[in-house]
Symmetry: D2
Subunit: 155 residues, 4 copies
Amino acid sequence: MKSSQAAGVDPEFARRVRESFARQGLMAHLGAQLSVLEPGLAEIRVAFRLELTQQHGYFHAGVTGTIADSACGYAAYTLMPVDSTVLTVEYKLNLLAPAEGEELIARAKVVKAGKTLTICSADVFVRRGGEEKQCATMLATEMCLAGKTDHPRKR
Amino acid sequence: MKSSQAAGVDPEFARRVRESFARQGLMAHLGAQLSVLEPGLAEIRVAFRLELTQQHGYFHAGVTGTIADSACGYAAYTLMPVDSTVLTVEYKLNLLAPAEGEELIARAKVVKAGKTLTICSADVFVRRGGEEKQCATMLATEMCLAGKTDHPRKR
Amino acid sequence: MKSSQAAGVDPEFARRVRESFARQGLMAHLGAQLSVLEPGLAEIRVAFRLELTQQHGYFHAGVTGTIADSACGYAAYTLMPVDSTVLTVEYKLNLLAPAEGEELIARAKVVKAGKTLTICSADVFVRRGGEEKQCATMLATEMCLAGKTDHPRKR
Amino acid sequence: MKSSQAAGVDPEFARRVRESFARQGLMAHLGAQLSVLEPGLAEIRVAFRLELTQQHGYFHAGVTGTIADSACGYAAYTLMPVDSTVLTVEYKLNLLAPAEGEELIARAKVVKAGKTLTICSADVFVRRGGEEKQCATMLATEMCLAGKTDHPRKR
């Protein structure tokens, strides 16, 4: 991140992002936590549970993809204006190693922030016995919807 | 699918795939069901719950990605040999519309089956008031690990 | 394509797209031709030459990616307003088989047309001795820049 | 790259890779050069020509994708055994900025080297008036075909 980008950052970005994260029912259901949040950066962690496994007993790639996607979206959202919401346009995930361990950690950063589109990358690590091993990498395109609320619409 | 590919299909593919699906803790945690299974095809469905939402109250893209990924993996696995397991190498997901509705349905098919790698695509639909609307599309690369068990390793 | 989308198509879309194609120096350098153009659809063909090969003597994946990307961009551009230009945001290409043959053919279509973003897919075929074989598939995100010219800027 | 990976590197990797590059007709046709080659790393450069442009007069995304793909493939191939050839399974390219400048430079590295599959990333820069600006980023999956020649098959 260049400082010129950070210069225009909404001073209340952390509150805005954390409130959005708290509204995501899936994050609570997976037990995920937003552990780091800085302009252009976000980290999400989730502890191992049997409810999160694939057939061999490791973290399911769906959990890996979900926390990496949310981390990319929120890394991008830190740099977006107050009166906006963020949307994932698309992402690509490469799985590099079995996600076998006690905790899964997705670390995302903004690669290029634009007015409409922001490109992010994330690396995902699995912690096992005190050691972290990279198990996945993501490249994602996020979209800023200006003038739209990040809250659910009234029905 | 060409019939020449289907010709060599393991006659017990359905049992093998359904047992693997049943071992995925995440599928039960999301409430996902393997609703269709044929050689080269798989469909997974999940009903709406607040535990599956993103910040606007729709299905989270993580759920979309998870069931599309599992559907691609199992579509590929139907065509793999008895004594093998399947691994997702990578996938790319494009989100086309908000996933607002009562049920999310991922339909995957094999595009090209190979000895080591199988390429699959999936379309994801959201059902709302009796109508289905496409909300995502995926392109995925699956890998066959021959001679490896699909069960958890003994520890 | 739904007819509701086609309803608003610029009647002069073909001239607009063909002029843009003709300005792409790379298309001439590869010997590529825009062989089909309809609302939401584009096909690009290129004949085999040694100048287009990879190390085994087949069409280079770069040629495959280039004509598939251009076909996606122009399929999307057929549906964009008169006063706009098109930009590829990103694409993903899966190579399915060696591109060994006399001609390479990329067929692209619009999957979802939006005001800002349009999602396209393309299948690429290689023709050899009268038979076509699919050798690649692409998923691409295109962006409409409204109010911008598709011509080079004056310097 | 961990040194443990580099430890097993074919001592003649550079000759093997450069000979493969020299057989790619497309690289000569684009005027591309393999400017850096180390275990797990490759850089390819191409100078601006009108033959390489898109409709606005910048480098065509097809050129960006082509040299990034070749750089990823050759970065992976440096770490593969003597008696093998390399194949791109798939790649995803995000375009970050217009590629306006005198030279295009793709820098690729191995993210994870495996026996069968190797994951690479590449960043592409455009040089203009002495300054480099990133214009694209790629994530690619490469496959090692052991026991196969990298030369064209006899016919």
